[in-house]
């Protein structure tokens, strides 16, 4: 062929002849169809095999077992009544309750410790920042399981026996059987305090909105923080006094065979709570440090130049920007903590994994149903927390034009 000669087999508006395989649309459809068929085939096979295997092993399927009597005892259930005659359904509820208690308290403590350590890490004080540095490096590089064992078998198990408990005053008495804390006794009318507390929060919110509107309109400020604090704390106290002090604390009394009365917090719970919150705090500390460092120094200087005092500058300029960096990774740490609470199974704290995916599974043998329920529960918690945090994050995020 002569060089430079372009031979065209089709005119411009005619479609070029492309191999069907190279047509992205056809190719995409084929890939998706093959994938879908493969997945359906896989699931069909799995379900089919499971049905055959279960029938052969003589294991019942379905969720009837939830109504059957469990027949084993649990040593920790603060809010749900549980006896050996309770059903597997109740076991599930108790497990979920214990997981949630652990997760919520763990998140609170981890956040507090994490923020303190993270700020300490940035301190100009050399000793303080070094201690914070080594706290982070040591705790986050040792497996959590090992840390739980250390707290449980290494520290709490070495506490004195029941007879010579350590007296911690208002907190209660501590010994190898756990912490014997004062137990609140609610008499009639106690719920008024709770409602007063809620009303305090609602009122604070309303006042906050009103104060902001007024400041926008007139420039006058209103001490929202102090008013809010007064309302949130004051209303419940008022309700407490008005209803005739319906809440009293029952203190544990030392007896010959250890403390009696009060509320026993089992050592499994204490060690898990310590291990989970200190471990997660190490990660949160790094997140907080990164968040604070992410705010440009110019922001501080600019807000000072605008005449803001250090307090309002921190509150109105620095913290909102730092939070924007902190919140997304913080969310995943909260989720990690919740999922890590399943390590409770190591020391037999009756959480969801230990009592339901452990004991109940072994007794009924209904692995598919129980594991599915357990996993979906964790999945639901995870999704709920991420939805909430995504909403919060969207609220905090930079509003760009």
């Amino acid at each position: 062929m002569a060089s430079g000669e372009v031979v065209s087999t089709h005119s411009v508006d005619e479609k070029p002849k492309v191999a069907l395989l190279n047509d992205p649309k056809v190719r995409g459809t084929i890939v998706q169809a093959v994938l879908l068929i493969f997945i359906i085939w896989l699931i069909y096979n799995m379900v089919n095999n499971a049905a055959i295997n279960l029938a052969k092993a003589g294991i019942a399927s379905g969720f009837d077992f939830l109504d059957r009597e469990a027949g084993f005892g649990l040593n920790f259930s603060p809010f749900i009544d549980y006896t050996e005659t309770s059903t597997y359904g109740t076991v599930y509820m108790v497990g979920l309750q214990n997981t949630l208690i652990l997760a919520v308290l763990g998140v609170i403590f981890a956040t507090i410790i994490g923020f303190v350590v993270g700020v300490a890490r940035l301190s100009s004080n050399w000793v303080v920042s070094k201690i914070a540095y080594w706290y982070v490096e040591i705790l986050r590089n040792i497996p959590l399981l090992l840390q739980i064992f250390i707290w449980y078998k290494g520290v709490l198990a070495t506490l004195p026996g029941k007879r010579d408990s350590i007296d911690l005053g208002v907190v209660g008495q501590l010994n190898a059987a756990g912490l014997f804390a004062p137990k609140p006794i609610f008499a009639a009318g106690a719920s008024a305090i709770f409602w007063a507390f809620l009303a305090g929060i609602a009122l604070t919110w309303i006042i906050g909105r009103w104060a902001r509107k007024r400041q926008m309109a007139t420039g006058q400020q209103f001490p929202v923080f102090w008013t809010g604090l007064g309302l949130v704390l004051g209303l419940p106290i008022l309700a407490y006094l008005v209803t005739g002090m319906p809440v009293s604390l029952e203190y544990p009394v030392s007896g010959n065979f250890g403390p009696r009365g009060g509320m026993q917090v089992i050592p499994e719970f204490i060690s898990l709570l310590i291990a989970l919150s200190t471990y997660t705090a190490a990660f949160i500390a790094e997140i907080v440090r990164a968040g604070i460092l992410a705010v440009n120094r110019g922001q501080t200087e600019a807000s000072h130049a605008l005449g803001l005092r250090p307090g309002p500058a921190l509150r109105l300029v620095i913290i909102p920007q730092a939070l924007r960096v902190i919140i997304p990774p913080l969310t995943s740490q909260y989720l990690n903590l919740t999922k890590n609470s399943s390590l409770a199974v190591a020391i037999a704290y009756p959480d969801l994994t230990a009592v339901f995916a452990g004991t109940a599974l072994n007794q009924t043998g209904q692995a598919v149903e129980i594991l599915l329920m357990t996993m979906l529960t964790y999945l639901a918690i995870s999704l709920a927390v991420s939805l909430f945090m995504n909403w919060y994050n969207a609220k905090m995020a930079l509003v760009e034009r």
Partner: protein, 466 residues
């Protein structure tokens, strides 16, 4: 002539006459800073006792250190027993030993006595050279790969990803696996090693046929895809063949493995499997094909939403139910599958972060050059994206490394599992701190050095996106 002099001269020239009586022409030496501002004292004033609040903080921190450190140091080093053969070496007078009453310290001979178990589990003594050889081969391949200036990177990667896994598998298990046929019915040919290979060739032919059919059906050129298929099947065949040869090694079943060997096996297999899987999932999640995207999202969110323990429970209790009758998996293999899927989901999110960080212009530029999807990914996007997420990948790996300890719940004896078994023996009763400290220290050294290395790499690879 110095600067000052020339300035003076200029001044003279400009004014015409010099009326200033004295002009300093030489700078005096600066005075040394006050003693309280330099050296140790100055440093302490600046960093420790800067204002009443800092002073208070320093004192408080020092007090906390005073409470914690002496106890730890005394227990681990100064009061510790370093040699001995049994429990008696670490007993005080009351317990029948020679140490003074109320002695408290670490009993290190105890760790020494069980050191082998911590590293290799119950691997038979006569065969111990095998795991040792595997560990040596592993680190011999790993260390030159980690040093950026070491030569032969390409060969090194082929060794680590191709040769080492096969050799390690054969060395650890003993190889000599039996493969029987899987395709033809027994009526035609009885199960034997020969039948397996006949079946294997048949299967290859069938796959080639299918590939040819699909590609021809869409007017494509089928030669290259078929050559690729044959090449892949041949490679897989060589691996299978090697694992079926009798090297005269004793078969060591996986329940006999344990200790840190187990940790390394699970972590390394997990990361090796999860990286390609994670990249595939990340690409799937950003794909424009709705089915692929949806499946990837469901997969990733499911595994990320559940705790690893339930995944391991699932792999040990539920997975056998899903397999056809008569097919059984080794417990370790089941755990490995669970761990790999679990960490693949996390890896996918890390990689996705990298993919999102690549400017759109890079994708468009690659497409403008006429690159196809996989060419674009392999040549332009992934090299940049993966470089960005190296810290994330290392963090996932550190997490995986620590999480391997959870396999103890399905009865695989990693260091923590061995520790519980050892604690139950009677000759070293009542000792537990040493176990925790030893295991914790080993994990800590591994994880800490990994995070340090990733920070180093991050700095090395840092290029600005401009």
């Amino acid at each position: 002539m110095s600067d000052t002099d020339s300035q003076t001269a200029l001044y003279r020239a400009e004014t015409g006459a010099l009326e200033i009586a004295f002009v300093r022409e030489q700078m005096t030496k600066p005075m040394p800073a006050p003693a309280s501002e330099v050296g140790v004292v100055g440093w302490m004033r600046k960093n420790l006792f800067d204002g009443w609040f800092n002073t208070l903080l320093t004192l408080f921190a020092l007090w906390i250190l005073y409470l914690i450190l002496p106890g730890i140091l005394n227990f681990n080093f100064f009061n510790a027993v370093w040699s001995g053969t049994d429990r008696l070496a670490c007993s005080d007078v009351n317990q029948g030993g020679e140490l003074y009453e109320g002695w408290k310290g670490a009993c290190w001979p105890y760790i020494g006595a069980y050191f082998k178990q911590f590293i290799f589990g119950r691997y038979p003594d006569a065969e111990l050279w095998r795991p040792i050889l595997v560990l040596i081969m592993f680190f011999a391949g790993l260390i030159p790969m980690l040093i950026p200036s070491a030569p032969f990177k390409r060969e090194n990667i082929i060794y680590m990803l191709g040769i080492f896994p096969v050799v390690a598998f054969i060395l650890l298990t003993g190889g000599n696996l039996n493969y029987n046929g899987f395709l033809l019915p027994n009526a035609i040919m009885a199960d034997s090693a020969l039948k397996f290979w006949v079946d294997y060739v048949l299967l290859t032919a069938v796959i080639c046929g299918v590939v040819h059919f699909i590609v021809r059906g869409m007017d494509g050129d089928s030669r290259r895809p078929i050559m690729l298929t044959i090449f892949a099947m041949a490679l897989l065949g060589i691996v299978i063949f090697l694992s079926s040869i009798d090297f005269g090694l004793r078969f060591v079943e996986t329940p006999q493995w344990g200790g840190f060997l187990m940790t390394l096996v699970i972590a390394v297999t997990g990361i090796a499997a999860s990286l390609p899987l994670g990249i595939a999932l990340a690409l799937g999640r950003r794909s424009q094909m709705p089915v692929v995207k949806l499946l990837s999202v469901i997969f990733i969110e499911f595994w990320r939403g559940v705790p690893l323990i339930t995944v391991l429970f699932m792999s040990s209790v539920m997975l056998p139910l899903f397999l056809p009758e008569g097919v059984t998996f080794d417990k370790l293999l089941r755990a490995l599958i669970g761990v790999a899927l679990f960490s693949a989901a996390y890896m996918a999110e890390v990689v996705r972060g990298g993919l999102q960080a690549i400017p759109k212009g890079q994708y468009e530029g690659a497409q403008a050059l006429g690159l196809a999807f996989w060419q674009m990914m392999n040549l332009v996007v992934l090299p940049q994206a993966l470089k960005l997420v190296i810290p994330g990948i290392v963090n996932t790996f550190i997490g995986l490394f620590k999480d391997t300890t959870l396999v103890v719940f399905i009865g695989i004896l990693d260091p923590i599992g061995r520790a519980s078994a050892i604690r139950a023996t009677s000759d070293w009763q009542g000792i537990y701190w040493e176990l925790f400290i030893f295991i914790g220290a080993v994990f800590w050294i591994f994880c800490f050095s990994m995070s340090r290395y990733s920070m180093h790499l991050e700095r090395r690879l840092k290029t600005d996106h401009r």
